[in-house]
């Protein structure tokens, strides 16, 4: 809904949404210039939990930095670790055994489902429905239990190693994952009935916050934000890495460009992730999980290396500039939500505050990941 009202210069007031506000999911602050319920202008202020991960990367050795990546995004930590290990393996020329690659893909996809489940719950809670969050958390808990049994932690996994994995998965995990897939499919049906079909939900999201393709391109949006605007962009397909070319999955693309499209993309992504997990479990080869020969000290040759991966929140890029020593010379983390969030300022102009906050929910924000 755009504002049809012509404003006088002194008719607005500043509404400070955040840093502590129920809709911002963390310490994010948006200074909104409001005219009644309409937003005239907005300025996002970030950096409240900035931890300077990039500087830490310059002072820590490669293995010591492993655990930092999972601290970036507490909901989809595996995807970020994946990007990190891939870029270092690429730079240092470390071979990864096939089994390890498959397990990585399974873990990343499980984590993606967990992350999207939490997003789904939190998003519906933003819109005022509380129960779906609880149902989503029940399913997510199942994934976390499963992953905890393998990795030893529930959120900030430090599971991937250069060349392989920290430890192998066992039969318990495989059978639990196999049980999980039909269970999750059933739950998804329930969510569609309870939430997607709901008329109130539809009315709140349909046509809200249209993002054009051009705008996505100018801001470098990725993930469901781009795919909801009709851009068929998924790093797993566009620049296949790891074992993703082995899997048969679709990239959901919606052309409506509104918040409902973004919602639909993520809901469908969960189904696609389940497909990947299923295939991964079927194809899982035997073998070692760490390469036979692996350099004791990782010293990638000088040069710069870039690796993009598709995390739960979008295209995460990591640029490694090495000078041949045991610490990186420069490590740039390109976080997807940073670009997605940047859209908000421009896109929310003229919206009502309810719609703007629903739009913010559809961006799937994880603040530590923006602030790094």
């Amino acid at each position: 809904m755009s504002s049809p009202i012509q404003l006088q210069p002194d008719e607005t007031f500043i509404l400070n949404v955040g840093p502590q506000h129920p809709a911002t999911h963390g310490v994010l602050r948006v200074k909104m210039e409001m005219n009644g319920e309409y937003i005239v202008d907005a300025e996002t202020v970030i950096g409240y939990i900035h931890r300077m991960h990039e500087k830490m990367g310059e002072v820590k050795t490669y293995p010591q930095y492993l655990m930092n990546l999972s601290r970036m995004d507490y909901l989809g930590a595996m995807g970020y670790s994946h990007g990190h290990v891939l870029v270092v393996e690429k730079a240092a020329g470390i071979e990864v055994p096939e089994r390890a690659e498959y397990i990585r893909a399974i873990m990343v996809e499980l984590n993606r489902v967990a992350s999207h489940l939490f997003w789904f719950g939190a998003f519906v809670m933003d819109l005022g429905g509380f129960s779906p969050l609880m149902y989503a958390l029940q399913d997510r808990e199942y994934i976390l239990d499963m992953m905890e049994a393998v990795t030893g932690s529930r959120l900030t996994y430090c599971y991937f190693r250069f060349g392989g994995l920290y430890n192998d998965i066992d039969d318990d995990f495989i059978s639990a994952a196999r049980r999980f897939i039909p269970r999750m499919r059933k739950s998804l049906k329930k969510y569609h009935k309870l939430v997607t079909g709901n008329i109130i939900f539809h009315k709140r999201l349909e046509g809200i916050a249209p993002l054009t393709k051009e705008m996505c391109r100018k801001y470098g949006a990725s993930s469901a934000v781009a795919r909801g605007s009709g851009i068929n962009f998924d790093v797993r397909k566009n620049e296949p890495y790891s074992v993703y070319p082995e899997f048969d999955f679709d990239v959901p693309v919606y052309h409506e460009c509104d918040s409902l499209a973004r919602y639909n993309v993520r809901m469908e992504e969960m189904e696609q992730s389940l497909r990947i997990i299923e295939q991964g479990l079927d194809k899982l080869p035997d073998g070692p999980i760490m390469p036979k020969k692996k350099p004791k000290l990782i010293k990638p040759p000088a040069g710069d290396y870039y690796q993009a991966v598709e995390t739960a929140r979008g295209s995460f890029g990591i640029r490694l500039v090495s000078d041949g020593t045991k610490t990186p010379y420069r490590l740039k983390l390109r976080s997807p939500t940073y670009s997605n969030m940047h859209l908000f300022d421009e896109a929310c102009r003229g919206m009502m505050i309810m719609d703007a906050l629903a739009f913010m929910g559809s961006l799937d924000l994880v603040i530590p990941e923006i602030d790094r």
Binding site: M1, F13, L15, H21, P22, A23, M34, G36, E37, V124, M125, D126, L127, G128, G129, F130, S131, M134, Y135, Q138, L194, V195, N198, I200, F201, K203, R204, M352, I353, M354, D355, L357
Partner: protein, 331 residues
Amino acid sequence: MSLTLLNVIVAVVIAIAFAAANAAYLVWAERRGAARIQRRPGPNINGPFGLLQPPLDGIKLMAKQLLIPGGADKVLFIAAPVLAMFPAIMSFVTIPFSDSIVAKNMNVGILMIFAFASMGGMSLLFAGWSSRNKYAMMSSVRAVSQAVAYEIPMLITTITVVMIAGSMDLMEIVHQQSASILHWNIFPLLGNSHNILMPFSFLIFFTCTLAETNRAPFDLGEAESELVAGFHTEYGSMGFGLFFMGEYANIVIGSCMTVILFLGGWSCPFGLFPGVWWFLLKLYLLIATFIWIRWTFPRTTIYGLLNLSWKILIPLSLFNLLFTAGLIKVF
């Protein structure tokens, strides 16, 4: 004269006690119900089934200091929660729970209840304005526009029932429905009106009750994910407690009205036990539906809410009114 006055005072005291007890235990029921829907246990530590939770919460709220934000309008700030509670209690006075249990039956009972219900919006406006908080202000503006928008279809639907009954006396309305279950106003065929649209009027009235009492999915005044806590953002201690009680008391009033107007009041389908129990049973079933709805649906938008009222409920209820008037004229 003095006897009547005494009657009214006793009635008011009972009403306050009833409202407070209801508010306290409806909170408990809501928390337990929500928990069951979400597959949690809910409050279950204090007392059997957590039944001591509401009084303990009450003690906690009363023991807290009432903070008044700097720059707030003190008089209005303190008046607002009282105003939220007061009309609800006054409305109880005229509600007949059974043939004999009524504090003061009036032949314009409906009018009085609606007059008091309109005051609810004022308390929200006071609270939002006096808090000196932008969120509270926005919330109160929303709440008032909502109250205005939903009073209209609610009144039109009520007029439909009044036309059928030919009286504004709540007792009289119930008496006309008491012949059998099929004479309840919600059922079209045998009822007093033969009006096939009556189930829809019931739905309209029920929706309006939800909106008038600021309940989900129409809780735009509170809208915790957008406006923090809406009009009571700045309230703590018993100020907040009174708003809370007022909200639940309003729910009870709204449900009482629905029961009386559409569900035959205390008239009993089978006559197993006295009428008042039937009344309470119907009342609490309706309130359970309120809770059930709240924990199922997301919130509407403010324009969605106003569209629903002005584009759907008001035309439909107006049509219903004309239709009913026509039927009464014909038969």
